[in-house]
């Protein structure tokens, strides 16, 4: 807070403007980020979640290692198998992350704002020379950095265990692909983080905000696929059973399902972690004529393939934050 106090001294020199702003709205941002991260990383809640993910990672990597060792066929991307191979009873690590990352994100953010109100600390914080812009962005960035820290630690853990278990270093392309995967996972968590923040602004009770966040998550995880097929049948019905109709219905269904961040995340990880994937859509046999099936795509082509999904995840995170920002700015905080 020393930085903030220094800045306030600077502010004293500038003449006050009526209803205007003084200096940058992000003054004191990094102070908030630092404090919030300290809170997150020392909280019991985070430690429980970290332990959960750690156990998952160790279990999955151990199981995958068993199956990789039994496989004698040559594999150019054996390190990517660590993330994508499922072995009973463990699902693939990617599958684990697709529901663990939202859980961590919601757990971090569901009481971000309303927690300050319930502890009656909001007025005190804002009494400091910190704009509420900086407070909200600082809280969001702190959550995102915490999430990144946890996920990067798991990523390093898996790569390290992979090097130990497989006895060979990962290739540059494998590292690049798994790093992109890490970025996609962070922003997939970022969506739920921003959503949790939106709910923590809307609802004054932290429990309500947490339930609302989990409800949305459950809605997209379980009910969205049902709604998707139902909606596709309504929008583009198959009347005569023509191939064109069936194709159109499938395309509509896919377009609707991509509203869900889960679909975007699954497609993005599939595209980057499985180099043989060429397309997410429906492929006609004519499109596969002359194609060498199973040949890996070049790295940049794989990135290009999952780029819409990745940018979708990033953009959704930013837009949800913008929504949270607008809501927070319009809110009465003198409670």
């Amino acid at each position: 807070m020393a930085q903030a106090i220094e800045l306030s001294a600077e502010q004293a020199h500038t003449p006050p403007q009526a209803r205007g702003r003084h200096g940058s709205p992000w003054t004191g941002l990094w102070a908030v980020v630092g404090k919030e991260m300290a809170d997150h990383l020392s909280s019991v809640r985070m430690q429980i979640l970290e332990a959960l993910i750690l156990l998952t990672a160790i279990g999955v990597v151990y199981a995958v290692m068993q199956s990789v060792r039994q496989t004698v066929s040559q594999d150019q991307f054996v390190f990517l198998r660590l993330f994508t191979t499922a072995r009973d009873p463990f699902p693939a690590f990617v599958g684990f992350l697709s529901f663990l990352a939202p859980l961590i994100a919601i757990a971090i953010s569901f009481d971000a704002i309303n927690g300050e109100f319930s502890r009656r600390t909001m007025s005190r914080v804002l009494a400091q020379p910190i704009y509420r812009d900086a407070l909200l962005l600082g809280k969001f960035l702190a959550g995102l950095f915490t999430l990144s820290l946890v996920l990067t630690a798991i990523w390093l853990l898996i790569m390290g265990m992979g090097i130990l278990g497989l006895g060979l270093p990962p290739s540059g392309e494998e590292v690049a692909r798994s790093l992109i995967f890490l970025v996609a996972t962070i922003f997939y968590g970022g969506i739920w983080l921003a959503l949790g923040m939106v709910f923590s602004i809307i609802f004054r009770q932290p429990a309500t905000a947490a339930l609302a966040g989990l409800a949305v998550w459950l809605f997209f995880t379980i009910f969205w696929s049902m709604i998707t097929s139902l909606a596709a049948r309504t929008i583009s019905p198959v009347t005569y059973g023509l191939p064109e109709e069936i194709l159109r219905q499938l395309q509509v269904e896919q377009a609707i399902s991509r509203i869900s961040p889960n679909t975007l995340y699954v497609e993005a990880t599939l595209g980057i972690l499985n180099p043989a994937v060429r397309s997410f859509g429906i492929l006609l046999p004519s499109q596969l004529e002359g194609a060498i099936v199973g040949a890996p795509l070049p790295f940049m082509q794989s990135v290009l393939l999952m780029w819409p999904q990745l940018t979708g995840l990033i953009a959704a995170t930013i837009l949800l934050f913008a929504l949270a920002y607008v809501l927070f700015q319009r809110q009465e905080i003198r409670a």
Partner: protein
Amino acid sequence: MRTGRVFVVFLIIAALLLTPTAMLAQDEPAAAENSAPPQPLTIFTTFPAQVIGLDATVSIPLKVRAGTPQTVQLSVEDVPADWQVSFRGGNRTVSAVFVDGATDASVDLRIDPPATTTGGVYRMTVVATGETESARLPLTLTVEEKAPPSITLDTDLPTVRGKPNTTFRFNVTLKNEGADDLNVNLTADAPPVFLVSFTLNSQEVTSVPLAGGESKRLTVEARAFNTIPAGAYPITIDAQSSDAAASLALTAEVVGQPELTFSTPDGRLSGEANAGASTSYTLVVGNRGTAPARNVVVSASAPTGWNVTLEPSEIPEVAAGQSVNVTANLQPNEKAINGDYVVSFTARADDASAKTIDMRITVTTSTLWGIVGVGLIAVAVGAVALAVGRFGRR
């Protein structure tokens, strides 16, 4: 007393002598010694006429038979000039035999013709002269002049025509005309580019044992090491033994043949192409053969919706050892999904086998949509900035 003892001994001897005679007389009355005339002196041999080789020493077993015991003098009349004859008995040279009258006497006549003998029929007579009578045995010796050692090589088809990569096969008959067994070594004198081998009963040989008069059918295989220009190549094969030799001239007539090669200048058969955009590759049609390749047609087989043009797609002639560059303009389908595709190019010529190369084309899609994605993020950031500007307090 002495007279009486002598008498007794005489009686005993007489009894011993008379008893078997009497028994014989009872068994074979016709063989009685005194009643039949005595056996005349004869000299005979089982094979009185023989065929002998040059330089061969002949030994003819003779038998002499006579009714009464006597010494028989032996001689040979009419001996050809320089011929050596001698009678052999008991490992010695003899001139007379004793016939005891009961059994036949055996003697060998040894005839030693001189080295200068020529072929022909030679007669001589063996004369046996006993005490009272004589016998003659005419002998006929046919001297066969032995065939001199000689080998012949013969073939029906001395010239074989073929392509440079053909194995030229000549069927050759190797015959030993002489009487002696020979071991024949086979060698070939061919241009250095030819590898010549001799095959007998599908086994490669370098020497053949041949009995006198025997003939064997050999296959001579000549194969060029590498592509050779058209022309007639003489191949001389030599058969050699210690005493005789023969050689045979064969000709391998090589006709020219075009052989197409098809590749890219650096041999790389992979490349990238942007979906919907034309990318050009250079292909090289070469002729490694020995004759010009005519009417070379280059064609491409690509997935549907791809546009492949070849410039030039038809080449009237590619001379031997020359190559022609063909530019292939490849435009993948606009809607092609990215990844690896196979595009086959084929070069055909009139006389040569077609050559096909498969090129692995990695189709890349435009990065336009990537920029759109970045634009999407920029719009989102812009929305935040707008919100900050609009709702920023204080």
